[in-house]
Symmetry: D2
Subunit: 139 residues, 4 copies
């Protein structure tokens, strides 16, 4: 566990009261935790600005598995980048539609490029990347 | 597979040329597919504006598993909302850090609330929700 | 000026060091100020979730003034919502293109609807809304 | 006015029907216009990825004008970057709060840095940048 520091911020009384009521509605039980989350969010955006930084990401895809060749191409793409793909989880939404989540790790530039390629595959109805972190650099 | 329609748009020549070069760099091999993806993105945002709409979502969490009680609370939270949680996938980033992806389905309002609660748990370093779709309404 | 409160957060040492270097690169000279900005950002998003809340907004439009009837329709739209439009500033980007910024105030729902209508006008090449605040509620 | 091209996309019937109803609610009277706007949005994001590209931007600031030295520092900052600042529009929200919109033009990297500096000034309660375009490259 990381070494903790105590830091005092000055903040308008009203602002703090309104923030407390917001984070309570979101389920936070602890104000420091909510503020640390804002800080970490800002840092993760920064990590992703550097193409050589080591990062983690998840790609969420919704697609129609009847779509000719799509499942095949998706598997191919993942195998050709086996160093980046950690695991892929697949559920059946209905007779036609699948949802798949792929966890990726690697250099930011390569992770981003692979994610774009998967989303661009013909037959993928919706695709989104979450840029996240390997965790060690954000305490 | 959905019934297809052919629709003709008028678009400035230069705009189309620049768009072609952008989507090619993203890995699209087909211009219609890229435009359909833009259209679907806009529609999914709309789905999520209505709290009673049925949706799918993924939640990506990075956390330190040494953090007191966190893994326990996360499991508890998922069990108390078993109707919303489809599956949860977990990987070990290093000695301390885990990455977990939870796939959720249900009414938009409930899915959103559960996702916020998981992200707000003390010890979660980073959390992001992807709002996606059950697929059948977006062709 | 608002009554200030002093509040102590506990935060991992490394996280704080990395945050300090990020905000310094952004031009902040004061860490409390950077954190207050994160807090205010979160609150303003919340204000905009309630359609009846009083808000302020700016709409940025880029358009070709040769486009038939556009300037006329844009002026018309603003006059029909004179209670929402505070001021409009216009510059000439080149022979064809204009950039216009419109400052709006009013109930969130009405402000949002008027902004969408302006952006949807035929001939508007790019339009974006900034959701901001009347300022008094965020200290 | 740009040379127009006609381009036919194939798109699922249902998807198109749902999109039509969405854009109608946003005030679009023309489907091609809505799709061109999606395409332009994607291209403008791309323009801003290259620090040397010529761009336009607006910065929206809300601040308390009683805040010691802020108005002075803001004016100073704008004068030191006179080549980037086109015009600044200022309204009084109430006794304390001002809203100011600054229109900027120049190399993307410099515009971004100046915008960040203004937002980081102590006393600025809320600041947001809109990344837009000089218009000529997006038809």
């Amino acid at each position: 566990m990381a070494r903790m520091e105590r830091y005092t911020i000055t903040i308008p009384e009203d602002l703090l009261a309104r923030y407390d009521s917001l984070i309570q509605s979101q389920g936070y039980t602890n104000r420091s935790e909510a503020i640390r989350d804002l800080v970490r969010d800002a840092l993760i955006e920064e990590e992703w600005a550097d193409a050589s930084e080591k990062v983690a990401a998840t790609v969420t895809l919704v697609y129609d598995h009847h779509f000719s060749e799509l499942a095949h191409r998706l598997t191919d793409l993942q195998h050709h980048h086996a160093g980046l793909v950690v695991v892929s989880t697949h559920i059946h939404l209905d007779n036609d539609n699948c949802l798949e989540v792929i966890i990726l790790r690697g250099r930011c530039g390569e992770v981003r490029a692979l994610a774009e390629k998967m989303i661009a595959l013909r037959g993928v109805k919706h695709g989104k990347v979450v840029h996240t972190t390997e965790g060690s650099r954000i305490g």
